[in-house]
């Protein structure tokens, strides 16, 4: 493999992994508080369409990103209300959110199909972008790529170094104990759901404004679900979320490069396109094989409704 191919593949891998990192880190915080939100796909779709629409009208990708985050937070609030206030089943409410979000985004996005946004220029970090091989790939990237790295550090710091993070994890492990020592369990879970929504919205916005600057129905293409799988794969640890996201980005990009290379292959393009989905299944199998890994690492109250007694 020659150097320029390596650089461009690394560049593309980082780009493809970025939305997954952002969304999966949001879901990680969400799940650390004990709430399983299967609505990621719908929230990403909402984020993508809102970001696209606002960017198109305002001309500002940053307003777009904010709109995407706001839209996804708004729908995540429906999920929060159902599961946290009304004690609804989290699996069912998450599925409803996915269906609703995908449907509503398709509905809103109809007039925007066949419009392309101008590409947002990358931000070049002086000096280190000149490094051989990796410089162009890592340090001449979209702002959101750098932001995803910052987000990683913030999430690590928050979960493991801050008092608020400790409380959040306590709420996820044992809501009853957290409640007993005076922490507002439901409020904390609401905030976690909103954070998960905001990150899913940002991930969606990255897709429609930066990655492929256009809106197509179904463009999220399962990334919300893959992000959910990533959190399991990472056994609820931020660093592994990051590594996993880039591995997935790598799988997605490799198949695209093979398809685009004009190589004569014995198998069809659709099989290559299905690789990321198979990869998701395989990593789930590998990581779940040991029941104890999951049991030890998953937040104890994950997916269980909680209602304060008395």
């Amino acid at each position: 493999m020659d150097a320029s191919l390596f650089t461009s593949m690394l560049f593309a891998t980082v780009v493809a992994g970025t939305p997954l990192i952002i969304v999966a880190l949001g879901l990680l915080v969400n799940e650390k508080a004990g709430v399983l939100n299967l609505g990621a796909e719908g929230m990403m779709a909402m984020g993508a369409v809102a970001a696209f629409a606002v960017t198109h009208h305002s001309g500002s990708p940053w307003l777009g990103v904010m709109a995407g985050m706001a839209a996804a937070m708004a729908v995540s609030l429906i999920f929060g209300f159902l599961t946290l206030t009304l004690q609804a089943n989290q699996v069912a409410a998450g599925l409803a959110l996915s269906i609703f979000g995908v449907g509503l985004s398709a509905f809103i996005g109809k007039p925007f199909e066949s419009i392309a946004l101008p590409a947002v220029p990358p931000i070049r970090i002086p000096f280190i972008a000149d490094l051989p091989l990796i410089g162009e790939a890592l340090y001449n990237q979209q702002a959101l790529v750098y932001l995803s790295w910052a987000l990683f550090w913030v999430v690590v710091w928050f979960l493991y170094r801050s008092r608020a993070g400790l409380v959040l994890r306590a709420v996820g492990e044992s809501p009853a104990s957290a409640h007993a020592i005076g922490h507002p369990v439901i409020l904390i879970r609401y905030l976690a759901v909103l954070f998960g929504g905001a990150m899913a919205g940002m991930g969606g916005a990255f897709l429609s404004v930066f990655y492929t600057p256009m809106w197509v129905e179904g463009m999220v293409a399962g990334r919300g679900w893959i992000a959910l799988a990533l959190v399991v794969f990472a056994t609820w640890r931020p660093l592994r979320v990051m590594i996993g996201a880039y591995l997935f980005g790598g799988v997605m990009i490799t198949q695209l490069f093979i398809q685009g290379s004009g190589m004569q292959l014995d198998f069809p393009a659709q099989f290559l396109s299905s690789l990321p989905y198979w990869a998701t299944i395989i990593v789930l199998v590998v990581i779940s094989r040991n029941v104890n890994t999951i049991r030890l690492n998953s937040p104890m109250s994950l997916g269980k409704p909680y209602r304060a007694e008395g």
Binding site: L38, L86, L95, I99, L104, A229, Q270, S274, I281, R289
Partner: protein, 354 residues
């Protein structure tokens, strides 16, 4: 101040009323959506609810749409009752279309009356085989069936796309992504002259009966209900969790596969890359709204079919995207989950008493 007070025991009445309440709330939300879009809400509702069923043909179209929903939902309900979350019925449906289409294309020239039964069997088998993947990975490796079955939906979609763009493409089809039309003996007979309502509707009704017999009258069905409602009790009684996972997923897969067969051998008459309109996902909502109960599923699938057809109507007459149906589907499930709070809680005015 309003507050929720736990009921001493779950209200049976509310568990039946809550889907109705959800349907009414969805309609009200629908009217609000139409007003927000600057459309006449009454006209919108008329298009959604009444226009589709204003004559015999309309009713037959409604039953036609309800057929795949009923089939998929009753299969899913078997698993859902035991808390086995197969959400990949959409993919199993597509594999069903592939299995059935394979048989139809292979015996294109034949006029044997065995073709249709073989197609049903092949559809069920293919759907079940697709569902066997999450079942195997769940029982053998503890892999989450929600994520695995969902990932396989995308794979199934790509598989169908490969078939209709590649080896199964109709050589005389002007390069459209579709197979040749099936022979007459591979098409399900029409039930009512002049409509598209086909024999698959009767298959779906039979499936509802079979689902009832299995869930409410068989020992295995009883065990699965126990596992769903009281997992600890089921474990203590020594019911095999793995066996239930297999039964739950295979039943769901087979039923969705038959639904797929009915679609290609019914209204479509061929396989295309747009063979499913999200029936597998809508069926999840149907199963919930129908309270995982065959009679409930019958009514819920009719309601859902109405939402589908209504979506096409407002697209045609009001120039709104048909994805509005998906919005209403999601709303319906939201409202159902919200209304369900009244099964376990009642609304009280005033402050909590100690």
């Amino acid at each position: 101040m309003l507050r929720l007070e736990p009921r001493p025991e779950a209200s049976r009445l509310m568990s039946y009323l809550s889907p109705l309440l959800a349907a009414v709330l969805t309609l009200m939300a629908g009217m609000a959506v139409f007003s927000m879009l600057g459309k006449d809400p009454v006209e919108g509702l008329r298009l959604f609810l009444l226009n589709p069923v204003k004559d015999l043909y309309g009713v037959s179209e409604l039953l036609l749409k309800a057929t795949p929903l009923m089939l998929c939902a009753i299969g899913l309900a078997v698993g859902f009752r035991a808390n086995i979350w197969n959400i990949g019925a959409e993919g199993q449906f597509m594999l069903g279309t592939v299995g059935a289409t394979g048989v139809a294309l292979y015996f294109q020239e034949s006029d044997s009356s065995l073709i249709l039964p073989t197609m049903v069997f092949a559809g069920a088998l293919a759907g079940a085989a697709w569902a066997a993947i999450p079942a195997l990975l769940k029982t053998r490796f503890n892999a989450n069936e929600i994520l695995v079955s969902l990932m396989l939906v995308y794979v199934a979609q790509l598989f169908v796309s490969w078939l209709v763009f590649g080896p199964w493409k109709d050589p005389d089809g002007f390069n459209f992504p579709q197979t040749a039309m099936f022979g007459d003996h591979a098409l399900l007979p029409v039930l009512v002259e002049g409509t598209r309502l086909h024999f698959g509707f009767l298959i779906a009704l039979t499936a509802l009966l079979a689902g009832y017999a299995f869930m409410n009258r068989s020992y295995t069905g009883f065990k699965m209900r126990v596992a769903g409602e009281a997992a600890d009790a089921a474990r203590y009684a020594g019911f095999s969790a793995n066996r239930m996972i297999w039964i739950g997923l295979l039943t769901g897969g087979a039923a969705a596969g038959i639904a797929g067969m009915c679609e290609v051998a019914g209204p479509m008459g061929q396989l295309t890359d747009k063979v499913s309109l999200g029936y597998g996902f809508a069926a999840i909502i149907v199963a919930f709204v129908g309270r995982l109960n065959p009679v409930g599923i019958l009514f819920a699938s009719l309601l859902m079919a109405l939402l589908y057809i209504g979506g096409e109507q407002v697209q045609q007459y009001m120039n709104l995207p048909s994805s509005i149906s998906l919005v209403f589907q999601g709303l319906l499930l939201f409202f159902l989950l919200g209304s369900d709070v009244f099964i376990h809680y009642r609304l009280k005015f005033g402050r909590a008493t100690a």
